[in-house]
């Protein structure tokens, strides 16, 4: 695993020392809240509805067992024994006391982790495909590039006060699992004439004005990455609106400027930027790449796997649902669902974190990943070890076989935690998962992305859910709007609003009607919900959501 160098270590420790001092000055009254707020946000500390929340970056979603164990320790010692994994490959602790936060940051620094640039108008945690370095369909591991971007962007003096937050995602696979098209910059690794490079997508984003990113360059040679990204950021830094927070993201800049003109400006800036890079970045990249060399895969028979599959239907169901193809034929990528029916999506207890750490150390070449879908991944498991992994997961409630199904829901914290929320999202997710579990319908329904946000900011990615749910406050009552047909992959699309929203106790039955309509309308089991929606359009689904209206129209 990549290790930070002494420079990083000193930088992070320094930041912790500064923050400890800032907390003391806040407590003594030397700093007002107005003065302190930007300082705490720079260190990932938010004040939510009921408590502070500390957001910790998990760069490109990669952890080892040592880091995971430290997260468990923090959860136990300073929080309420659990942590919440988020759609941006972060972990959030929901209950730290202000006075404990410097100690938590020190504990993070002990394992080379931190909360820097998890907030503020800076370049945020760079996210990557959670199957990076393991997926069978991958062209190249995107994490070295993500790490290069992380080093380049951390504390970059030119980009600490951007018009707004800035999010970069990268995938090394043609199957986009990193939602690159909904990011400020999305990078897709591609090759041209045998040369590695990137397709550069710009101006995607969710929030109140969702937009799918547009291709700025269809092929950027690998060596030009940093200067080109710098040129994009410099152009945005200059053009981006600072008068209106809702129009400050690069998606609006690109939209208002026009893609062609924006591209011309970036290209005009690019040569000067490139001249400043003397190749040091490429040397660094080569060093980083060496640190990301694949583990020494084991050659061993896989009979144990086949035997367990044949003998144990519970194991077979889990294997069929939660495993993905690995680049090594004897290995599998195992996704651990943090979506047990009725539990909070993305939450893991300290005990569960320790079990996952143990399994990674024992069976997984000491690697763990966090997905934007709020699950944990063991990216490299030899197939013969899968029965043992499954048994250990089952013992701590982590063996739910629901990956990619209706109960594998992304839900933002919503009004149970978030100060910006207009409605709750977690209990809606819990109730939908429980309902479809009761009905025993989710395997029949098949692949489905259901995503819930508790306000228009769209942290729960509802715009790109096949079914999206947006919680709103309508005249002092929680109200849930449904969007249909969204897609976060390489065929990205923003979902369309189906119609008027539903009350809190109406939303679960509405989703049930919607999915029953799909089951009736699909051509075969092979036709997924999204495919059926694309074939049929919204009409039959709207009819299922709003049966009253159909009756009224017919009358």
């Amino acid at each position: 695993m990549y290790r930070y160098d002494d420079f990083d270590e000193a930088f992070v420790r320094n930041r912790v020392a500064q923050f400890r001092d800032q907390v003391e000055r806040r407590l003594s009254g030397a700093l007002t809240e107005e003065e302190f707020r930007p300082l705490r946000l720079m260190n990932g500390l938010y004040l939510q509805l009921h408590a502070y929340m500390l957001r910790v970056a998990i760069p490109y979603g990669t952890l080892d067992s040592r880091k995971m164990r430290q997260l468990a320790l923090i959860a136990e010692r300073w929080d309420k024994g659990y942590g919440h994994f988020t759609t941006r490959q972060n972990i959030q602790f929901n209950w730290p006391r202000l006075t404990d936060v410097p100690a938590i940051l020190d504990a993070l620094a002990d394992v080379e982790m931190h909360a820097i640039q998890t907030s503020g108008n800076t370049i945020r945690n760079v996210t990557a495909d959670h199957f990076a370095g393991a997926a069978a369909d991958e062209i190249a591991d995107p994490r070295p590039v993500a790490e290069l971007l992380r080093q380049w962007s951390t504390d970059h003096p030119e980009f600490q006060f951007l018009p707004r937050k800035f999010k970069i995602a990268i995938t090394g696979s043609p199957n986009d699992r990193a939602v690159t098209r909904a990011h400020d910059i999305g990078l897709r690794m591609v090759t041209q004439d045998g040369q590695p490079g990137f397709e550069v997508v710009v101006g995607g984003g969710l929030g109140r004005t969702p937009m799918i990113g547009k291709v700025l360059r269809d092929f950027l040679p690998q060596a030009d990455l940093l200067p080109y990204v710098e040129a994009i950021l410099a152009t945005y830094n200059l053009l981006g609106r600072r008068d209106n927070k809702y129009k400050a993201r690069i998606k609006i800049t690109v939209h208002e400027t026009g893609l062609e003109e924006f591209r011309d400006m970036v290209e005009a800036e690019f040569p000067a930027r490139r001249a400043l890079f003397a190749g040091g970045d490429q040397e660094l990249l080569a060093q980083i790449e060496a640190a990301f060399a694949p583990p020494a895969f084991r050659n061993a028979p896989v009979d144990a796997y086949e035997t367990a599959r044949a003998a144990d239907p519970v194991f077979r169901a889990w294997a069929d649902t939660n495993l993905a193809a690995h680049r090594h034929p004897d290995y599998a990528i195992a996704t651990i669902s943090l979506k047990a029916h009725g539990e909070t999506p993305g939450d893991a207890t300290a005990e569960q974190m320790r079990i996952m750490a143990d399994l990674a150390a024992r069976y997984g070449h000491d690697e763990l990943r966090i997905s934007h879908e709020q699950n944990v991944i063991l990216p490299h498991v030899h197939k013969s070890d899968l029965p043992a992994v499954h048994a250990a997961l089952k013992a701590v409630g982590l063996a739910t076989a629901n990956l990619g199904l209706v109960s594998d829901i992304i839900a933002c914290p919503g009004m149970d935690y978030c100060a910006l929320a207009t409605a709750r999202s977690i209990p809606v997710a819990q109730k939908i998962a429980q309902r479809f579990d009761e009905l025993k319908l989710e395997h029949d329904i098949g692949p489905l992305k259901l995503k819930i946000s508790g306000c228009i900011n769209a942290c729960g990615h509802h715009h790109v859910g096949h079914i999206g749910i947006l919680g709103l406050d309508r005249a002092g009552v929680e109200n849930y709007q449904v969007t249909l047909g969204g897609d976060g992959t390489e065929t990205a699309a923003v979902g369309e609003r189906a119609g008027p929203g539903f009350a809190y106790d109406e939303i679960v039955p509405a989703i049930e009607r919607l999915l029953r309509a799909y089951l009736e309308q699909r051509e075969s089991r092979e036709e997924t919900f999204l495919e059926a929606y694309r074939r049929l359009g919204p009409a039959p689904f709207k009819a299922a959501l709003y049966p009253e209206e159909g009756r009224r129209d017919a009358a």
């Binding site: 809240e33 004040l47 009921h50 309420k80 202000l98 006075t99 929320a421 977690i426 819990q430």
Partner: protein, 101 residues
């Protein structure tokens, strides 16, 4: 004609724990909504808010939240304020924890 003033309580988050707190009539900060001072007069509300804002070493972000009289003291009006009196709905954490003890 002046609009009728809807009753309010002063609420904030505690500086160290972040927990939701309410200003009482005897100038304490309570974790219980029903112990809050129910303010029925606009001018008095302003004074009480200023009083809260003058305590940055104890509270963060004080504001006036709508409330109404209830059997045991003031009750929240909006659902957001109702959630703030309890804590999250997915775990018995926050104030619900204290109640369970």
């Amino acid at each position: 004609m002046s609009r009728r003033f809807t009753p309010k309580v002063v609420t904030a988050n505690a500086l160290i724990e972040g927990d939701v707190i309410y200003l009482t009539a005897d100038d304490r900060w309570s974790k219980q909504h029903h112990e809050a001072e129910l303010i029925e007069d606009e001018a008095h509300a302003e004074i009480r808010l200023l009083f809260a804002q003058a305590q940055p070493d104890r509270v963060v972000g004080p504001y006036l939240a709508e409330a109404r009289p209830g059997a045991h003291g003031p009750e929240p009006v909006h659902f957001r304020e109702a959630f703030r009196t309890r804590g999250p709905s997915n775990y018995a954490h926050g104030k619900q924890e204290a109640e369970a003890h």
